[in-house]
């Protein structure tokens, strides 16, 4: 793992930085690349959903299914862009856009009643009946 930063040239790092709108420093991008390589076991250039599920901390997260939908088949640039919403340098608008995307499960640009219901179902699991959720 110690040699991977040599596979990432300065041009690559700057390109990725530009793609995520400067949300990460160059050092952070190098570390993220090491993590990406660690997760991408088969060196196919993207991380399959299975790999994310094998991280126990991620798999027990209630929102893992919705996030997996957004995380499928991401190459490294898209991976960094995905995580850029969590950087302190990301704008508030960017963060809100991200949360909106998590809610908008059918990707139609609108958060409908069903979207909200689905998110609520993910979050509360078996502890609330459907009727209670709809009432809320």
């Amino acid at each position: 793992m110690g040699n991977t930063s040599s596979m990432l040239t300065q041009y690559d790092i700057e390109e990725v930085q530009q793609h995520c709108k400067d949300a990460f420093t160059q050092q952070e991008i190098v570390s993220l690349y090491q993590r990406f390589c660690q997760l991408d076991r088969n060196n196919c250039g993207f991380i399959p959903s299975d790999e994310f599920l094998s991280i126990p901390e991620f798999a027990v997260n209630p929102l893992s299914q919705s996030l997996l939908r957004m995380l499928d088949g991401l190459n490294f640039k898209e991976f960094v862009a995905f995580l850029s919403a969590f950087s302190p340098r990301a704008t508030l608008h960017h963060k809100i856009e991200f949360i909106f995307k998590v809610y908008d499960t059918d990707c139609n640009g609108k958060v409908s009643f069903h979207d909200v219901l689905r998110a609520l179902r993910d979050l509360t699991g078996p502890f609330m009946s459907e009727k209670q959720r709809e009432k809320l």
């Binding site: 110690g2 420093t25 929102l63 950087s87 502890f127």
Partner: protein, 409 residues
């Protein structure tokens, strides 16, 4: 939230130049809500803490870190270090390695030529045969340890042979068993392996009273539990050695202990093993190497340096559950060997957490929002829907590690 806290403390292990993204994650909704009598939609739908946790897990998680082996660091090769390193390689591979192989073969010959006669000729005199077999196995293990130049320091009183006691140790590699066996002949409980190791297991180690299990068989658990109980009762049997982690961990962390060893109703004697990685990393990454390759790697390095501490025997305290007992012993071992604790079940290396675990975590999420001053405002809601909750909810969940109830149930 306490799980972000655990992530932060374990990430101090990372290299200094590796940034910790958990530090940068937004800490939940910035609008502080006054406690209301009812569960508000707004609070439930505030998913940013959950999202932050998920992103934190993607970037770095404590479970993968347990099984990371150190990459071999190349020296800074310049004019004088490179020849020195080459010289070292030559000595290790061409001089030390053949000597060690010879020594090991000699040891095997002596062992087998004594063991087989003893085993068959002394069939009638069980006690004498078993004590001789024990000494022979101890001798063989010493040969093994010498074959990779084990430099060991034992601390604490030597284990005594008494009934109703089990030994537990942290697990880094299959050689843990050999280095402990060298001092005292234990009866160990191991996963059945294929190949020549399995052959050894079923022939020689059988005589010591060792027990096998198969991780993949579900019903196996009860059978093995019964065998364990029977073994501990017998006064003549070798003391039982159990590795409650269930899998090899990289000697910087300990994963959760299985409670099987702690509900046998006997004294538990903890043993802590810590390897010094100065010459070689003794962690056996079973996904990356076979055991033979691992042994060869050990035999072609300078030495294996480690410490073994035999710690004070522990008993189940009145009012303590086996799980709490296991955690207490794990604390003792981790403290002694300088290992960090992670709240994960080692078997997750082989399987995924089931969706049931995800559901348990939703409770955590809701409780985070509603835990205010000692009353869980969620519970009134739950009572309405007639669902029974584990008693860990309602104010107690913060005391218990939430992952603890997820994986040990």
């Amino acid at each position: 939230m306490n799980n972000i806290g655990t992530l932060k403390s374990s990430s101090s292990e990372l290299d200094l130049d590796r940034p910790n993204i958990e530090d940068y994650l937004p800490s939940g909704s910035t609008i502080q809500q006054e406690p209301h009598g009812k569960l508000l939609l707004h609070d439930l739908l505030n998913i940013s803490p959950t999202l932050s946790e998920a992103a934190g897990a993607i970037v770095d998680d404590s479970f993968t870190r347990c099984f990371k082996s150190n990459p071999p660091e190349p020296w800074n090769w310049n004019v004088y270090l490179f020849p020195l390193w080459c010289f070292g390689v030559v000595i290790r591979y061409l001089i030390l390695f053949p000597i060690r192989i010879l020594g090991l073969t000699l040891g095997w010959i002596i062992f087998l030529s004594s063991f087989i006669p003893v085993h068959f000729l002394l069939k009638g005199h069980d006690k004498l045969r078993r004590s001789m077999e024990r000494s022979l196995v101890e001798m063989m293990c010493s040969f093994f340890v010498a074959s990779w130049t084990g430099v060991v320091k034992y601390h604490g009183p030597r284990p005594s042979r008494r009934p109703k006691q089990v030994f537990v140790a942290n697990h880094t590699s299959m050689i843990d068993f050999i280095i402990l066996e060298q001092m005292t002949a234990f009866a160990v409980i191991l996963q059945k392996h294929p190949g020549w190791v399995g052959l050894l297991q079923s022939t020689i180690l059988e005589g010591l009273g060792c027990i096998w299990f198969n991780r993949t068989e579900a019903k196996d658990r009860e059978i093995v539990a019964k065998k364990l109980r029977d073994h501990v009762q017998g006064a003549d049997n070798n003391p039982l050695l159990i590795f409650p982690e269930g899998t090899c961990v990289n000697n910087h962390y300990t994963v959760m202990f299985k409670k099987g060893a702690f509900e046998l109703g006997c004294t538990v004697c903890p043993v802590a093993i810590k390897y010094n990685k100065i010459f070689v990393d003794a962690f056996w990454n079973s996904r990356k190497q076979s055991f033979t390759m691992h042994l060869l790697q050990l035999m072609t390095s300078w030495a294996v340096v480690y410490d073994v501490w035999y710690l004070e025997p522990q008993n189940l305290k009145p009012g303590e559950t086996p799980i709490e007992f296991a955690e207490r012993v794990r604390d003792i071992i981790s403290l002694r060997a300088g290992l960090k604790k992670v709240p994960w079940n080692g078997y997750l290396k082989y399987s995924r957490p089931s969706p049931k675990h995800r559901e348990r975590n939703t409770l955590d999420l809701i409780a985070v929002h509603q835990f205010l001053g000692g009353t869980c405002q969620l519970c009134s809601l739950i009572l309405l829907s007639n669902k029974t909750l584990p008693s860990q909810c309602c104010g107690d969940w913060r005391k218990n590690d939430v992952y603890l109830c997820v994986y040990l149930s």
